[in-house]
């Protein structure tokens, strides 16, 4: 038996109000349940996508690292590092958000701008160019993965929140409203019986 809402008056008005509130709570409950179900569906779609993106990142990075090793073999590790830190390529991240079932998820894209000659061409090897472009491809894959992963994270948070709301409505709010409605109804019926009895008594007195 759940608790009766405190401060309820046993009047017909109150009964009507309670009934309306219960109807509203039930509608909210249904809507939230639907929201939760479709969020979970989206979540699993995103999980499938994440796996794919992850594999992409792994393979592109593997390629990039082997190109790096080759560049290091030809130019020497410290020279490669030197070129890397003086390279003029730059990358900018642009983040915007879109709404997915009321959850704001980010859309990220990397804007890479490579100048014509990012580093001295005279004493760099062609392997360095290959390696640079391979890392750029890997970075693109990484940014895509980051987008999907943060989508998944936010979806997970939203699912948690929605689940909590659904169960709060289901186990607390609705039973409480039901109990209060019953209480008010019983009290009203009781008063009706009392009135009926009182009228009978008075009739007996008069006659």
């Amino acid at each position: 038996m759940s608790k009766i809402l405190p401060g309820t008056k046993t009047t017909r008005m109150e009964l009507l109000l309670l009934k309306n509130r219960k109807r509203l709570a039930e509608r909210g409950h249904d809507l939230l349940k639907e929201k939760r179900d479709s969020l979970i569906m989206e979540f699993f779609n995103a999980i499938a996508e994440i796996k794919e993106a992850r594999q992409e990142v792994e393979s592109t990075l593997r390629d990039a690292f082997s190109a790096l090793t080759q560049a290091k073999m030809i130019m020497g590790a410290s020279r490669v590092a030197e070129f890397a830190s003086s390279s003029k390529t730059s990358v900018n991240l642009s983040i915007s958000t879109r709404s997915m079932m009321g959850v704001r998820v980010p859309i990220m894209s990397a804007e890479q701008n490579t100048p014509e000659i990012p580093y001295s061409l005279l004493d760099s090897s062609a392997k360095l160019d290959t390696m640079a472009s391979k890392f750029q491809i890997a970075l693109k894959a990484i940014v895509r993965l980051a987008e999907i992963e943060s989508t998944v994270k936010r979806l997970a948070l939203e699912i948690e929140r929605t689940k909590r709301r659904v169960s709060a409505l289901e186990t607390v709010v609705i039973p409480r409203l039901e109990a209060t409605t019953r209480f008010v109804k019983l009290a009203l019926e009781e008063r009706e019986r009392e009135d009926f009895f009182r009228i009978k008594m008075i009739r007996d007195l008069i006659t």
């Binding site: 979970i40 979540f43 999980i47 994440i50 796996k51 992850r54 990142v57 792994e58 990075l61 593997r62 990039a64 690292f65 790096l68 590790a77 490669v80 590092a81 070129f83 890397a84 830190s85 390279s87 390529t89 730059s90 990358v91 900018n92 991240l93 642009s94 983040i95 915007s96 980010p106 990220m108 990397a110 890479q112 701008n113 490579t114 360095l128 390696m131 640079a132 890392f135 750029q136 890997a138 970075l139 990484i142 940014v143 993965l145 980051a146 987008e147 992963e149 943060s150 998944v152 994270k153 936010r154 979806l155 997970a156 699912i159 948690e160 689940k163």
Partner: protein, 107 residues
């Protein structure tokens, strides 16, 4: 938007590679303390939108990562380093799925 920079924390090879791709905020980390403090530095920096950290380094500071990945921005992403993937990322994802759906699901 302000947060438009990518930051990388990793070993020397990873950092070199990403520098070639144009990432300017790079840190070579050799110890756990450095990794942790750099991670927090990048996290507090409002310009940073994405932090890339190698899996092997991430394993040492797992608790910090779990703590700060609650925030929506910046996104923290674990990538495999030269030696290949270690599976640290699977663990993070599984935890998320467990919390969202309520049960452990093999993904």
């Amino acid at each position: 938007m302000a947060s438009d920079k990518i930051a990388v924390i990793g070993d020397r090879d990873t950092v070199t590679g990403f520098q070639m791709a144009g990432v300017r905020m790079c840190t070579v980390s050799r110890s756990q303390e450095v990794t942790r403090s750099t991670l927090i530095d990048y996290f507090r920096n409002p310009d940073v939108g994405l932090i890339i950290i190698t899996e092997s380094l991430a394993k040492e500071v797992e608790d910090t990562i779990l703590e700060i990945s609650e925030a929506p921005i910046p996104v923290i992403l674990l990538v495999p380093d030269r030696t290949g993937t270690t599976g640290a990322y699977e663990k993070l994802l599984r935890e998320l799925v467990r919390r969202a759906v309520g049960i452990d699901i093999k993904i």
